[in-house]
């Protein structure tokens, strides 16, 4: 039997970064907000306390903070002609589950996306001509400019305690920051972290070669910090247990220590954990949502929660799944290229990195933070970088981080070393401290065939169709990686290592090894219902009292990590709901 609950102003599906920001902003504005989180309650103490949190096997290998694929997963194939099979275990990406979502176990890299990203189609058409964009690459501009979003980027950086160095404050270039960044109103709230030895080597080598190195912005607090809401962050201790772990020092900008406690202090806010939303309920016109249906997975009881506004704030993949299960918008069909929901899925091609081995240098890879690093943007944010030379759209950053030296996952050995036995042991013992990596992180342009729809065969534990992902790396990605990887290799050679491995070639996408949790698109934003599922306020064109937050809204993926604009857009949408939609519900313009 389904229990129908009392109507609220807003129901939020998923309480991570975007749900947390919306929960805080809207409940503080006096709206009655209920957040439904499918996972459990959790907090720094005792859930992320040492020594137990420093358990590589449990958290980094067995993925105990993540979505459990036994309940719900997706199916995957490279192209529409192949059978799709379930992703039975997590691998390539790690959606979160539980209070704080993936905002608990992220690394903290917090970019503002480039001016080119905000105007993806216009930039390429103007500079290279319309024919430079392949006909099967449906890129489009964001529906808001970088300048419009700048105050919201700033707000998110302040909330999350981002450490970094500005490169451009209101048009004036700043020494030591990113030479290519868009103008900012002010510097980051915290100075950059102390660089590792590997980062210093990379910084000096790239500067020597005429590139523009700078510290990568990251939500690992370089010192103790109190954010504008009064949330207190500790200083990062470079422990090397960031990604896939919760931070015991509260030094990683995370929703469970910032926006969520602020929402929970509001009498008009209520959190329900273990509450799995299976559907957004629409009225008979299919133009209005009347609430959501959910199951309490700790009791099996089913509920309906009526609400004036439904905000989908689940992981980017799950937002799209819920839209398709609920019949919000027209599903995309890659064959006919009709419909919208599910199109423009993008990811993050890697594989262009190099590992350098030195006889006489010690890197101590375990002295690490999730996000600190030195990057160069000469082949990405740089709008003077000639894409015609690469014959591809997009670009890649080249960077040296040092996110962990945890030994199950990190054991570099030179090319040709066996994977086991006496020679492997000897090499592992010798090179563990003496290797460093130079990474290449590439953008990913959409392709008509890279998309989601519902799987015809496989079901989740609620008997609903799994989401089906059709995806592969394509020609454009291979060109970008091929071009920028050679630049990374040149930088590496200038450091004169004893040997180096890589760069590799980008092959077919493989869903098994971890690459990044940067899944974007599927419920994209744009300028009209013809090219997008959402308008500029992340409001559904088809069902205007449904908002869909998160990276599912991005029409393409940048070479930058997604969380910066994910957070900024959550503040942007919260503002639009408070100042516009609340007074005049309906499609906002």
């Amino acid at each position: 039997m389904t229990t129908r609950l009392r109507e609220v102003d807003v129901v939020i599906v998923g309480l991570g970064w975007t749900g947390g920001i919306l929960a805080k902003e809207l409940s503080e504005a006096g709206m009655r907000v209920v957040a439904l989180e499918r996972g459990g309650m959790r907090g720094t103490n005792p859930d992320f306390a040492i020594p137990q949190i420093r358990d590589e096997l449990k958290y980094a290998v067995r993925n105990h903070l993540m979505q459990n694929p036994a309940r719900d997963t997706l199916t995957f194939r490279h192209s529409p002609t192949e059978p799709s099979l379930p992703m039975r275990q997590l691998g390539s990406f790690l959606p979160g589950e539980g209070l704080g979502g993936a905002g608990v176990h992220w690394n903290g890299v917090t970019w503002r996306w480039t001016g080119i990203d905000h105007a993806a189609r216009s930039y390429y058409e103007q500079r290279y001509g319309k024919s430079f964009i392949p006909s099967d690459m449906p890129i489009q501009d964001w529906p808001m400019t970088y300048a419009e979003l700048e105050p919201y980027y700033d707000k998110f950086e302040r909330t999350a305690g981002v450490s970094g160095k500005a490169g451009n404050i209101r048009g004036t270039k700043q020494t030591g920051g990113n030479f290519f960044e868009q103008p900012r109103d002010r510097d980051y709230p915290l100075p950059a972290l102390e660089p590792s030895y590997s980062q210093i080597l990379f910084n000096d080598a790239t500067a020597q070669m005429g590139y523009h190195p700078f510290p990568r912005p990251c939500a690992n607090a370089s010192r103790a910090y109190t954010n504008p809401d009064g949330s207190r962050l500790g200083a990062c201790v470079y422990c090397g247990h960031c990604e896939r772990f919760g931070c015991e020092a509260n030094a990683k900008g995370s929703p469970h220590i910032t926006v969520i406690p602020k929402a929970m202090a509001q009498p008009s806010f209520e959190l329900r954990t273990h509450s799995w939303v299976t559907k957004v309920m629409l009225d008979s016109t299919k133009k209005k949502a009347i609430g959501v249906a959910y199951t309490d997975v700790s009791t099996g009881e089913e509920y309906e929660q009526p609400a004036a506004i439904v905000a989908l704030c689940a992981y980017a993949i799950n937002n799209v799944h819920l839209m398709l299960l609920s019949g919000i918008g027209t599903p995309y069909d890659a064959t006919t290229q009709k419909g919208i929901v599910g199109k423009n899925y993008c990811y993050q091609p890697g594989g262009g990195g190099v590992t350098l081995f030195f006889e006489d240098r010690i890197f101590n890879p375990f002295m690490a933070t999730g996000a600190f690093g030195i990057a160069i943007d000469d082949f990405h944010a740089n709008d003077q970088f000639d894409r015609a030379a690469m014959s591809a759209l997009g670009g890649a950053t080249i960077n040296v981080g040092q996110s962990n030296g945890r030994p199950i996952g990190y054991r570099p050995v030179p090319a040709g070393t066996p994977r086991w036995g006496a020679a492997w042991k000897k090499a592992t013992a010798k090179w563990y401290l003496r290797a460093m990596n130079i990474g290449v992180t590439a953008s990913n342009m959409p392709n008509r065939y890279n998309a989601y729809d519902l799987d015809p065969t496989y079901k989740n534990v609620f008997g609903q169709p799994l989401l089906r992902l059709t995806y592969n790396f394509l020609e454009n990605d291979k060109k970008v990686i091929g071009y920028v990887a050679q630049k990374a290799a040149e930088i590496a050679r200038s450091l004169k290592p004893a040997s180096m491995t890589g760069p590799g070639m980008l092959g077919d996408y493989n869903i098994v090894p971890y690459q990044s949790t940067h899944n974007t698109g599927g419920a994209i934003m744009g300028s009209s219902p013809g090219n997008s599922a959402l308008n500029k306020y992340l409001q559904s064109w088809d069902v205007p009292n449904v908002f869909v937050l998160g990276a599912s809204a991005f029409p393409h993926n940048s070479a930058y990590n997604p969380t910066g604009p994910v957070g900024a857009l959550a503040y942007w949408t919260a503002d639009a709901i408070k100042t516009k939609f609340r007074n005049r519900p309906g499609l906002m313009t």
């Binding site: 490279h78 099979l85 992703m87 000897k426």
Partner: protein
Amino acid sequence: MKNKNRRDFLKTVGTVGATGIAAAVGGDTSVAGQSPAGSPAGRVLLDPAGGPVSHAYTFLTAPEAAFIEAAVDRFIPADDLTPGGTDCGVAVFIDRQLAGAWGSGDRTYMQGPWQKGVPTQGYQSPLTPAEFFRAGIAATNAYCRKTLQKDFDRLTVEQQNKVLQDMEQGRVTFEGTVPAQEFFNLLLGTAMQGFFADPIYGGNRDKAAWKMIGFPGVIAIYSEHIKTYRNKKYDVEPKSILDLS
């Protein structure tokens, strides 16, 4: 008994289950921990609590345990860097993992229908990891009996290395449901987890793997060291969760 392997010893004693035997053997690691084919004699190891090392198994049968011990000793041979895989607790680690949640298919989508798929689609077996291991061990032994007339653990070290290399390179095909290369990768991956994970899980005894590479463990407060240890070795006795619990 010094020159006999685990299986011979078990045969001598009788057909009692592996767990009971191993418990009865207790700290006699010169028997229980010894590699079958003449690698250095097992040394007496103490577990961190000071007691003798146990080789008790809960999931693996005696022949399966003999297989796993031989395999992990080939992956991690005893040398001046560390004791062999078995003496480092890697076989015990694998046994506990297979007996526990992971072995039972925790956090794995187990619904059908079942199709082979391509490697880039990942694990598609209808077997749980524990069942997959069991079938893989049986298939490897069947292959060894067919081609070399002995179970894997009774082969010479050179023969064992050759069989493992052939599995790794995809040069052999097993009869039955378990692909040789896929089993090899799971076996090696799980052994490496055991060698390098925190000793709370039974492997990495005495933090041997961490000492081998210079990983300092879980204390990890490097706010100052990030500057003072640039290009400088950080030599400390590693600390594990087990040490701090």
